[in-house]
Structures are given as C-alpha cells and as structure tokens.
Amino acid sequence: MRVYKRRDIKMKRTFLRQTLVLLTLATAVMAAPMAYAVDEAPDALIKRLSVDVLETIKNDKAIRAGDTAKVVALVDSRIMPNVNFQRMTASAVGPAWRQASPEQQKRLQEEFKILLVRTYAGALAQVTDQTVNMKPLRAAAEDKEVLVRSEIKGSGESIQLDYRLEKTPGQGAGWRIYNLNVLGVWLVETYRSQFAQEINAKGVDGLIATLTERNKANGKKA
C-alpha cells in the first residue's frame, strides 16, 4: 500500500508538471498575437495608421475625387477608434465643458466631428504619391502622454504632422490621439478661442447652434 501510494504521488507530480508545461506553452502561443496589441508603441500605431490611410486613399478613386461620404466612412472605421474625441472636444471647449450637460457634450462632439471630417476630407483628397516618415520618439517607458512626430513627404517641401497621444488606462488598451498639428498648428488650440468667443456671447447652446449651422452650410456647398 505504501509503495503504491508513493508511486501514486510520483505519477500525480509528473502529471502536474506536464500539465503546467503544456499550459505555459498554450498561454505563450495564444498570447503571441495579443502581445502585439499590448506592446504597440505610440509611434508604431501612428506609422501603421498613416500608411494604412495613405494606401487606402491611393487605391480609392472616389475619395480622391472628394466623395465626402467615403471619407467619413474611412475616418470612422480606421481613425476614430484611435482617437479620444471626447477629450479633443473638451479641450477645445475649455472650462465650459464641465458646466455642459451630458446631452450638450454629446451634441458638441457630434457637430465638431462633422466640421473636422469635412475639413480634412478636402486635404485627404489631395493625396497622391506621399509617404510618411517617422521622427525619433522621445519618451520614457512610463509616460502616459507622448508627442509623436512625423512628416509627409511628397514633391517639394515636407509637411510636418505631429500627434499627442494618451495611454488608455488598463493593460493593453493602447494609445489614443487627443490632438494633432499640421505644419505646427494644433487643432485644439486653433478652435479654443473661437469656441470661447461663441460661449461668452451665446452660451454652450449658442456654440452648438453655430456649429450646426456651419455644418449645414458646408453640406450645401459640397
């Protein structure tokens, strides 16, 4: 009986050890594709997004002809998942954001997004043979907010394109863009005083009304 027991224990141990090895292997194999998502650096994300968007436009005649609906679809599917648009809108609105109701905040985001997509649709339609060049990232591993710098090269002068990204809290949640600059002009900063003017004169609802009106007028022109 004793001998049996000992052998039993020995077998159990071997079994446990084997199971552990197998489990470790399985985890490693399954985690490999996830590791990519966890570890993608902010500049790698921007590089992947830029190349993806540039390639899509190059291969899509409708977008290059200025088809706004298609640009909106492209922006929604590829770019927006990587943007913290709430933060972008809130920073442009400034201190008044905290006083705005959730409904007002929602409307502000909707209208601001339409305005921006229309603005960039025109620029994206100009893409021909441009390539993207990343500049070295200067950030520490523990940084929660980073500046990623790149330039778009075509013929002639290159176009500076920088992004501010924030680390989404939580493991593997990735990075999201909350501001960008073209030729040194930051998007949020360019809207900040215009928004403040509207809010000072007509309140948050006044700003929403002005944005809606502008979007309607832009829609008619296109």
Binding site: Q86, S91, N181, L183, V185, S193, Q194
Partner: protein, 258 residues
C-alpha cells in the same frame, strides 16, 4: 504696460521737460487702445490691438473678394497647370536665394547649402528657375525670411498685427519688412513696368495656389479672424523653433474626472 516701458528710454533721453507731455500722450493712447479693446468680449493676450486688426482684416477680405480672388481664379482656370507650375517655380527660385542669405544669418549650414545649391541648379539647369530640377535631385526647400531670422536670434514676436493688403503679421515681422523688400529680387528690377508686372504676377500666382486652402478655412472657421490669427501665430512660433517649440502651458483635460 508694455507701451509705457517701451517709451521710457526715449523719455529719459529727451529730458524731463518733454516728459510730462510724452507721458500724457502715452496715457491717452493707452486709454484709447483699452477702450477699443473693451469692444471685444473675449481678449487674447497676444492680440492687444484686436479691434483695429479686425477692421484691417475686414478691409483685406473685401479687397480679396472683390479683386484678388476673382483674378486668381481666372488665372487658375485659364492657364494650363504646367504654366502655373513654371511661374510658381520661377518665384520660388528667387525666394530661395533670399532664404539662403537668411539661413546663413541663422548659422544653418546645411539649409544654407541647400538653398544656394537650389538657386544655382534651378537657375542654370532649370532654365532660369522655370523648372524645379533641384527638388528632383533631392535638395529640399528651406524657406526663411528676415522676420524668421530675427526670431531665431531671439527677438520675440510681439503682438499680432494685420497689415493692410499684406495680411497677418506680428510686430517683429512688420519691423523686418523693410529689409525683406531689399531681399526681394523682383523689387530690385529697374524697369518700372517689368517690376510691377512681375509683382502682380507673383501675387496672383501665390493667391491661386491658396484657393483651395482659402476654401478650407472658409468652411472650417467659425470666426475667420480668430482662426487665421491663432493658426498664423502657432505656425510662426513653430518655424522659429524649427518644428519643435516648447510647450505653452497646456490646459488640463476638462473631460477628465477629478
């Protein structure tokens, strides 16, 4: 406050007799300026002359809508693309020489070499600058004017200024204008009619190349004046710091929970 400080050395040199009169004039000016400012509800510290600037901006816009934009549009629609490219290249080539001088004044060896190199290559192989051969050879443009040189030497931009007909500027860039004109090769042409014709052609060609951008601003801006000002000041600051300006105190994220 700045105005008082600025005039102080002058006052000291002129002596106490004129001092009270000067101070009175300065104070009066301040009162007028402050009153003018009070008409603007949202004030930007970089733009103390906002109400004056706004009226010049309005005037410039009216001139653009009435004359410059229609002419530029016709120019774009009538002339084939390659002709316009040639015209643009020609003026860019003249500008490259001035950029070279300024890049040298800023002690930027590579940019200086590129700028002068471009001028030599394009003037000879590019038939007087009509073809931009240098770009094909990988020599990049590094546009620089004297306002930028002053900025890189450490001169602050000063307040935002809108100049009649010329548009957005700063006090520093406005002060640099007289030097800028000396560096403009078109302006040094002796024959009046040739000089004027080239100046107008340059203006129309430049405006034509901004027609699309103008439409973008038209659609994107809630207030064209603020939009133009804020974009211009950021762009200029970015140029002075060579594409990597230090952070201005950035506001915290208002959407973040406390």
């Amino acid at each position: 406050m700045n105005m008082v400080k600025l005039t102080h050395p002058v006052v000291a040199v002129r002596g106490p007799a004129r001092r009270s009169a000067m101070v009175r004039v300065v104070l009066l000016t301040l009162v007028v300026v402050l009153q003018a400012c009070s008409a603007v509800p949202y004030k930007d510290p970089r733009d103390p002359m906002e109400s004056w600037n706004r009226s010049v901006f309005k005037f410039n816009d009216a001139v653009d809508v009435a004359v410059v934009k229609p002419v530029a549009t016709a120019y774009r629609d009538v002339l084939p693309h390659w002709v316009r490219t040639g015209v643009g290249n020609f003026f860019n080539n003249l500008e490259d020489l001035w950029s070279g001088v300024n890049n040298a004044l800023q002690f930027r060896a590579l940019d200086t070499a590129d700028s002068f190199g471009r001028f030599v290559v394009n003037t000879t192989m590019g038939f007087g600058g009509l073809l931009d051969v240098a770009s094909e050879m990988g020599m990049e443009r590094h546009p620089a004017n004297f306002g930028l040189t002053l900025g890189r030497w450490g001169v602050g931009s000063g307040p935002f200024v809108v100049i009649p007909l010329l548009g957005s500027s700063t006090l520093r860039d406005t002060a640099a204008l007289s030097i800028e004109y000396k560096g403009n090769l078109v302006r040094s042409i002796n024959d009046d009619s040739t000089r004027n014709a080239l100046t107008v052609l340059n203006l129309v060609d430049t405006r034509a190349s901004f027609l699309k951008a103008g439409e973008v601003v038209e659609g994107a801006a809630l207030d064209k004046y603020s939009f133009t000002r804020d974009a211009y000041l950021q762009r200029r600051r970015n140029q002075v710091y060579d594409g990597n300006p230090p952070d201005e105190e950035s506001a915290p994220d208002p959407s973040a929970p406390d």
